[in-house]
């Protein structure tokens, strides 16, 4: 009912239903590792204001180091 009202006045701003693609149950980290394995020398990120760019291998390595650093803090 609500979605019909919204559709009439303002276009579809809310909708729900089953999509075509199934959900992925990977974590972001898992996806990064998979992509790095497939394309280790492709560029993952490019930072214009810092003037650097990193391949997936470099990016994963830096992210893992930072993650290890964060975990080494005593939570």
């Amino acid at each position: 009912m609500l979605s019909r009202i919204l559709r009439r006045g303002f276009g579809i701003s809310y909708d729900c239903g089953v999509g075509n693609r199934p959900l992925l149950y990977k974590t972001i980290g898992q996806q990064l590792r998979e992509t790095t394995e497939k394309y280790p020398n492709h560029f993952a990120v490019y930072s214009e204001h810092e003037g650097v760019r990193y391949t997936y291998t470099e990016f994963l390595s830096r992210a893992e180091k930072m993650a290890a650093g964060l975990l080494s803090l005593d939570y």
């Binding site: 972001i28 992210a63 893992e64 993650a67 964060l70 975990l71 803090l73 939570y75």
Partner: protein, 86 residues
């Protein structure tokens, strides 16, 4: 990405926040670790943090206990890619 790998919850903060909004947000999520840069455009984050919680600059490493930010234990500066425990 590091937070995703480390199973840590990442909350982004609106960079346009002023000191009191920042304080509200940090306490709302019970933020234990703050990753920040010194400044961005017209915002001086070092100064902002010092205004809210001056203990950050003066306390011993690993011993941060701020009255205004009671949950905060670590401040990590992204400038120079060096981590400081506060």
């Amino acid at each position: 990405m590091a937070c995703a790998l480390a199973d840590l919850v990442l909350v982004n903060i609106n960079p346009a926040y002023r000191a009191m909004e920042l304080k509200y947000a940090l306490n709302k999520v019970e933020c234990e670790a703050l990753l920040m840069v010194s400044s961005l455009k017209k915002s001086d984050y070092d100064e902002m943090l010092h205004t809210i919680a001056p203990e950050v600059s003066s306390c011993d490493p690993g011993e941060l206990q701020s009255k205004e930010l009671p949950y905060l234990r670590y401040v990590i500066k992204m400038d120079n890619k060096v981590k400081h425990k506060s």
